[in-house]
């Protein structure tokens, strides 16, 4: 018995990195509601960040394309619905769904469309980077989990405006 204990400890020691590594890729799935945003105002104009776009770049147009831009490139989405599997993640902002493969490969939806939504996702340790572009609008979300809350660092460049906000979401009950 005394001979087995050291062997067991050795096995546990060797397995520890694998366990820690498995814990390194969090799952962001769930429905998330905005809790707070930092900074609380848009530094460009001193106004609160808008929930639904308004930055221009096609987002002002009163059509499906404009509505899509307003949702996807919103400075401060009020809620996010995320569905994540081992190799894919879907982020829903309002009615707009963005799909990403978790392999740093570009995804074009729909394929061949000049104004297609182009998405790409890659891991940076426990943080997930989501890059998205549509028309002349570009954005990047860096997702991480902190104390059970979703923290999104959102860079958006749209319609001549370029903003960065850190948004904290809590899980909807």
């Amino acid at each position: 018995m005394t001979r087995r204990i050291p062997l067991l400890l050795l096995v546990v020691t060797l397995m520890l990195p694998a366990v820690l590594r498995a814990q390194g890729t969090p799952n962001f799935s769930g429905t998330w509601k905005m809790e707070k945003i930092d900074p609380s105002v848009d530094p460009r104009n001193g106004r609160p960040p808008v929930a639904g776009g308004g930055l221009g770049g096609g987002g002002d147009a009163d059509n499906a394309y404009g509505a899509s831009i307003r949702e996807i490139f919103a400075q401060a989405p009020q809620s996010i619905v995320i569905a994540q599997t081992a190799n894919q993640i879907t982020v829903q902002l309002g009615p707009e769904k963005e799909s990403y493969t978790l392999d740093d490969k570009l995804m074009v939806t729909p394929e061949g469309d000049l104004n297609a939504l182009k998405t790409r996702a890659h891991w940076d340790a426990a943080k997930l980077h989501l890059h998205f572009k549509k028309g002349m609008n570009w954005g990047r979300d860096i997702l991480s989990l902190s104390d059970g809350k979703l923290v999104v660092l959102r860079d958006v460049e749209s319609g001549g405006g370029s903003t960065t906000f850190t948004i904290t979401y809590s899980k909807a009950q």
Binding site: L9, L10, L16, R120, M136, W138
Partner: protein, 277 residues
Amino acid sequence: MDKSTLLLLAVVLAVFGGSVAAGHPAWGTFTGIAIILLAAGLAAGTLPLKSQDYFDERIGPTQRISSSLITLSSAAIVAIYAAGYHRTSSAAHKFDSQTPQARGSTTVATVTPPPPPSPATKPGSSGPPAPASKKNNSRPATPRKGAPKKSGDSATSSAPSPASDKAAPDATATPAAAAKAAYKDGVYLGWGSCRHGDIEASVTIQDGKIASAVISQCLTRYSCNWIAPKPPAGALPDLPAQVVERQSAKVDYVSGATESSYAFADAVIAALAKATE
């Protein structure tokens, strides 16, 4: 565990420590020395000492338990270190490959102001070539498909434009860095990002050298023609061509497209990092 096994473990540790110290001079020196010291300690424990009899008398049968604990501790330390080493080795290689090419180094700090687009360069080829346009027009129309262009470097360095004056040190300084990084043949993709979007670079390595570099995906808000103008190139710098010319990710930064230049340089660095893995 008997003494011969301990000794063998010590030798393996010493070799491992030596390889870490030699393979990663930037950060591995102290780590390698620490491992070698651990190996030395382990080896010393296996050697017959004069005081062995004294300890045997004093400690008796517990000596074996103590050795087991030491062995187990050593094995645990080595296991944790080896796991961490394996986990971070790819990042270490990446940093190693980036170090000579990192932006902000002394040679890259010579940011090239873009030559003002002169009307003489735009009409292009029919008129007598002005010195400023000679640099860009001397580039082959399809530099991405050819071998590294070396004759163009001399033409570039002799051009009197500010761009060429500052690009010249990079062009002469990079072969040593390029020769150091032995790239594996193949086509490698890498992404770079900036506030204006993403750029994917595709770098082709042939015979260990950068044979071509192109922007395979331009997802920036603005056109990538600012950093990779289509022929005739005119006065704007052609960053993909610079990668081939300089055999390095050290490219000039284009005023008015600085962020995109960063993104492109990062994309090439990422691609070259894959070529050295």
